[in-house]
């Protein structure tokens, strides 16, 4: 059997296992709480594996390995801020989210400020961030399947959309959690095997690939590149978006509503940090191993962004079987992330927009569940259509754009809701709408969309859009301040609920 055929068999086998897990999870699904947040029953280690699964995705595995192989230290920026981003989550939002939240991000914010406009805006922000993230996964998986398996792009994207919908409809958050745990475990094992084989080439020295690359190509592969003011500002903007954006990602927020108690929320964050920190450090090693074993020109030729460096390394050091294993696992991992995003976005539509904004909360749980399942299918279909239209676009930048949008809309509103006593509904609404418009607007007039005729010089707008969102929050709070209807639930009460002693 050829490496390509074996890859397809492995990918199909892994997908079949995830479908079985979804069917198994569907038997445990009894209520809306089960569907949205796995009934709030998960243990710390279960949520840790699922949280880690959100981060150790196909995107990070392929993207960071390739970026390090092609650009050296510049690729490291994609990984450097992640452990710190999770420490911020642990310090600032993990426990308050679990204590205040019900089903969605909007529930946490609206625990303090009731209001249909605000809830609707948070739901729209959730949808925008989730759909952007879903499009990246669809496009990435479609291109990888096309390049690795020789399967046409459109059927792959549609097939992934159908399977994602199946997960959401069948098993909700319980299925998503099982699938994330399974996928994280498989990916960790495969990467561990790949790194052991790669290190065997350099005498099992963990930094051997870096030292070898330096011997072959000189210091330039290890030291930071200096490419002018705009590129430097881009690096800072990327790091700012990354470190602040994570705590505003709806599918990450949702993970803290699934745990049984505050200790489980803390434990899951801490354990997940350990898992993906080690994983990302290993990716640096794999990036340099790919540069040494495959070569810069061959990586560039296979894909200009370097996205196939990891499978190429697998083939170079482990032969066709290792290549097949890595390629198959990559496709399966995409599905798990898509399932998380589908749950977050279907909750925003069914629970926030339909139940709370349109029906004023007067919807039976069964009806809400039906709407959620339909919404999951519709959101997946929208993302599939955009992904098909965007097949020839460079979407690698989109994941960082999603972080920047979250850092400029949901994150500031969430943090100010939890920590600023004078914050009010006007400030929350202004920051959410203003941050969303500024961040999306700057991306639309930036170099990734307009190319050479761009109006705004940075691809990732966080450096401008995050301060803008904070200014909107201050202005909205000042304008709305004196009106009693803007105050919401007294801050002292929110603080006691968020940080019960």
């Amino acid at each position: 059997m050829s490496g390509r055929a074996l890859s397809i068999v492995i990918a199909l086998a892994l997908v079949a296992i995830t479908v079985v897990l979804a069917v198994y999870a569907s038997r445990q699904l009894g209520s809306a709480s089960d569907h949205y947040t796995a009934g709030g029953r998960l243990r710390g280690w279960q949520n840790a594996l699922a949280l880690a699964g959100d981060q150790i995705s196909a995107g990070s595995f392929l993207g960071i390995t390739g970026a390090v192989a092609l650009t050296g230290f510049t690729g490291f920026y994609l990984a450097a801020g992640l452990p710190a981003a999770y420490l911020l989550i642990l310090l600032l939002v993990a426990e308050p989210l679990r204590n205040l939240g019900h089903f969605t991000l909007a529930d946490v914010i609206c625990a303090r400020f009731e209001g249909r406009l605000l809830r609707g805006t948070v739901a729209v922000a959730t949808l925008v961030i989730s759909i952007v993230y879903m499009v990246i996964q669809f496009v990435g998986a479609g291109l990888v399947a096309q390049l690795l398996f020789g399967i046409d792009y459109v059927p792959v994207v549609i097939g992934l959309g159908v399977i994602t919908t199946l997960y959401t409809v069948l098993g909700g958050m319980i299925a998503t959690t099982y699938i994330q745990m399974f996928k994280a475990s498989v990916l960790l094992v495969v990467v561990a095997v790949l790194v052991v084989i790669s290190l065997s080439k350099v005498g099992f020295n963990p930094v051997g690939p870096l030292l070898h690359a330096r011997r072959l190509l000189g210091d330039k592969v290890l030291v930071p590149a200096h490419k002018g003011t705009t590129a430097s500002l881009e690096n800072v903007s990327l790091s700012l978006g990354l470190v602040l954006g994570f705590m505003g990602l709806p599918h990450v927020v949702l993970r803290f509503l699934t745990v049984r108690d505050a200790k489980a929320a803390r434990d899951s964050t801490r354990i997940a940090m350990w898992i993906f920190s080690v994983f990302f450090l290993v990716l640096i090693i794999l990036g340099y191993a790919a540069l040494n074993e495959v070569g810069h020109a061959a990586i560039l030729k296979a894909n200009p962004a370097g996205n196939l460096a990891a499978p190429q390394l697998a083939r170079a050091v482990g032969g066709e079987v290792m290549f097949a294993l890595v390629s198959g696992v990559v496709i399966a991992t995409v599905l798990a992330v898509l399932a998380s995003l589908a749950i977050a976005s279907s909750g925003a539509v069914a629970h926030d927009l339909y139940t709370q904004v349109i029906k004023h909360g007067d919807v039976p749980p069964e009806r809400q569940l039906q709407v959620s399942r339909v919404a999951g299918a519709v959101v997946a279909a929208i993302a599939v259509v955009i992904a098909i239209a965007a097949r020839d676009k460079n979407v690698a930048f989109l994941s960082n754009v999603a972080f920047a949008i979250a850092a400029s809309s949901t994150t500031p509103v969430l943090l100010l809701t939890l920590y600023w006593p004078r914050f009010n509904r006007g400030g929350a609404t202004a920051a959410m709408i203003g941050g969303l418009i500024v961040s999306c607007g700057l991306v639309a007039v930036g170099p990734d969309v307009l190319g050479g005729s761009h109006v705004f010089g940075l691809s990732i707008p966080a450096l401008v859009s995050v301060p803008a969102a904070v200014l909107f929050a201050l202005a909205g709070t000042a304008v709305c301040g004196p009106r009693p209807e803007c105050a919401g639930t007294p801050y002292a009460e929110i603080r006691r609920r968020a940080f019960p002693a």
Binding site: A84, D219, L222, R266, R270, M273, Y419, R496
Partner: protein
């Protein structure tokens, strides 16, 4: 007797509020310091040459970057231990599970 209970309740609320305020203060100061540390890496590597050297075959920038990983992971362990110590101090009968640590179902969340 009612006055005594009211006094105890007030005292408990004040102690609870003070504990929450201390925790918020520590969390916000730590978070601010962390953001500064994280942004220092791209600022120093992009705008200056201070991290351009190579030590033992590895660039200084990578060593600082790896150190950030270690700081974040150590910070997570220290924070969790500190919070658990605070919880144990407040609820000595069951140091592992204070009011904030109780299972969700016990706190009426299932009724939502």
């Amino acid at each position: 007797m009612a006055k005594l209970y009211a006094g105890m309740e007030r005292e408990h609320t004040q102690a609870t509020d003070a504990a929450a305020a201390r925790r918020i203060r520590v969390a916000l100061i730590s978070a601010a310091a962390l953001v500064v540390v994280v942004l220092a890496l791209p600022i120093l590597t992009s705008f200056t040459h201070v991290l351009d050297g190579v030590v033992g075959g590895i660039s200084v920038a990578y060593i600082v970057g790896f150190a950030e990983f270690v700081v974040a992971m150590a910070g997570a362990v220290i924070w969790c231990r500190w919070v658990e110590r605070q919880a144990a101090r407040r609820d000595p009968a069951d140091g592992r599970a204070g009011a904030s640590e109780r299972p969700v179902a016990d706190r009426g969340r299932s009724a939502r």
